[in-house]
């Protein structure tokens, strides 16, 4: 039984990583194809770094990811605090139902609904182009917010009120009590929310596709490339990103193991 389960897990890992292995393998192709392997060469890695279109797209992706994750973490944490302060259950449930919409809805529907809205606003404002950096950023903040709120809220609910009350009794203003007592108590979940928002934004294709206009992020660039021919430089860049994420995850896990042994991974 034990051997059987080991084989099963190994097969699953093989299935999960077969396309990844193909990608890494063909990133070292000396030829121009991602189909026919001609020989080993690292030249596509050099090309990936000199391909300005690709580097610019990567920069845009990172800018949107960092900004949207930061803004949605601040807005979302404030939202979690505020929503818990509502006394009526109906109001609370109504807000949480709306919060669930971007998470539950199909990405394509979220994407097109935002696009229709942005195009309409653009027309009213008489903008030359209604879609671009601002609209992608707004879209990303919108789909990131639920994940931050749902990450922070349970932790906030479980936080002991007596510490907060003690701070108030000892003369803290509500605001300084919040920053000195509550924020440190929930900082792990805020961080988890931020990381989730960041990775979601980094990887998003569908919603960006409908809201980005000419502001090409990396997934959009890759999409346009896969419409024509894909050269191994995309694979080289993806391999670098893959390894970077791998290292970050390992580090995050080591840090997570130290700081909080009870919670699951990530």
């Amino acid at each position: 039984m034990k051997i059987l389960s080991r084989i099963y897990v190994a097969l699953m890992v093989f299935f999960l990583y077969a396309p990844v292995a193909v990608m890494i393998f063909f990133s070292f192709n000396s030829g121009e194809s991602v189909w026919v392997f001609e020989g080993f060469s690292a030249s596509w890695y050099a090309d990936a770094f000199t391909n300005t279109e690709m580097i610019e797209a990567l920069e845009r992706t990172l800018i949107v990811a960092i900004l949207s994750a930061t803004i949605s973490t601040v807005l979302g944490t404030a939202a979690a605090v505020g929503i818990l302060a509502f006394r009526k259950k109906i109001t609370k449930n109504a807000i949480m139902s709306v919060t669930n919409i971007p998470m539950m809805n199909a990405d394509i529907v979220t994407g097109v609904s935002l696009m229709l809205f942005f195009v309409f606003i653009g027309k009213i404002l008489g903008a030359y182009e209604s879609l671009g950096f601002a609209t992608v950023l707004i879209a990303h903040i919108t789909f990131n917010l639920p994940y931050v709120i749902l990450s922070v809220m349970p932790r906030l609910k479980a936080t002991d009120h007596s510490l907060h009350d003690a701070a108030l009794d000892l003369g803290c203003t509500p605001i300084s009590a919040f920053f000195k007592v509550i924020i440190p108590a929930i900082k792990t979940s805020i961080f988890t929310g931020f990381i989730m928002a960041f990775t979601l934004s980094l990887d998003d294709f569908v919603i960006s596709y409908f809201t980005c206009g000419h502001y090409q992020t990396l997934p959009i660039l890759i999409y346009n490339m896969t419409k024509k021919t894909v050269t191994p430089d995309v694979y080289a860049l993806s391999t670098i990103i893959f390894i970077a994420v791998f290292v970050l995850l390992i580090l995050y896990n080591i840090a997570g193991n130290k700081s909080d042994k009870k919670r699951g991974v990530v």
Partner: protein
């Protein structure tokens, strides 16, 4: 414990404003476009035109149901075996399962072309050992494979999370009361992991039924799904926004019904099981 929060309701107001403006209003736009013509007059013709897309709807639902079932069938044993490992190995394998999710999903899907193509890796292997090549790419099977592959972590993770929380003493009690491995699985683990299964099913089914990239790349042009139709129409210019909105609206309602049914299942099951 008193139930007051740690701050004032007012701090939620920027978010509430944001959600109203960028979640609710855009959905109203979809509904508005679905029921008007390009000049803005009220019409049912967009909704009527959906009949033209019934094949795409049918295929989307069919492929997604098959993909979800396959994903569930291969993820469940995986999650079960994961819970049987040492705690340190469990964390490792979690990272391994989640890592491909952080790789661009377009690239992941594209890599499958290299594997499945007519002169791809599998067929090269088959011909090299003297077998006939098989047609893999541009088939419904390839689309379903792409769906299973792209969304399988969303099935493994919730099932694993729920399973790993099952109290070991329940299993011991079952053994003490004379149940063997199989009946323990059927009578204890299966019902207790049900909420994880349900959330896995919804998390896989929703992206499958609305996908528009997997079908284009792995299915050729013969297996167009509802997501492809929506994407195509929105790219065809503002005159087609209305029909595209009608399709999106129907897709959304379909997903809502699905979620509602799934929720109903978990609630009633939990009530009977726990």
């Amino acid at each position: 414990m008193n139930k007051k929060g740690f701050g004032s309701r007012i701090v939620a107001s920027p978010y509430i404003l944001w959600a109203a403006l960028f979640v609710i209003v855009p959905l109203i736009f979809i509904a508005y476009f679905a029921f008007t013509d390009p000049s803005g007059a009220f019409t049912f013709s967009n909704i009527m035109q959906i009949a033209k897309y019934k094949k795409a709807f049918g295929l989307s639902i069919l492929y997604s149901v098959i993909a979800t079932i396959i994903t569930l069938l291969i993820s469940y044993p995986m999650a079960y075996f994961m819970t049987k490992m040492k705690v340190s190995s469990q964390k490792m394998i979690m990272v391994i399962v989640m890592l491909p999710m952080w790789m661009n999903f377009l690239i992941r899907t594209y890599s499958w072309i290299t594997i499945l193509a007519n002169k791809g890796l599998i067929n090269t292997f088959l011909t090299s050992i003297g077998l006939h090549p098989v047609k893999l790419i541009n088939t419904p099977g390839a689309v379903i494979l792409g769906m299973v592959y792209d969304f399988i972590p969303y099935m493994i993770l919730p099932i694993y999370t729920v399973m790993s929380k099952i109290d070991n003493s329940l299993l011991e009690a079952a053994s003490d009361l004379g149940s063997n491995g199989f009946s323990r699985l059927r009578k204890v683990i299966l019902p207790l992991s049900f909420p994880g299964v349900i959330s896995g099913i919804t998390m896989v089914f929703v992206p499958c039924v609305s996908t528009f990239y997997i079908s284009q790349k792995l299915g050729g042009n013969k297996n167009l799904l509802i997501g492809d139709a929506i994407e195509y129409l929105f790219n065809s210019g503002p005159d087609f926004y209305n029909v595209a909105s009608a399709l999106s609206l129907v897709l959304m309602v379909m997903i809502l019904i699905c979620l509602f049914v799934m929720n109903y299942f978990t609630d009633s099951e939990e009530a009977t099981v726990l």
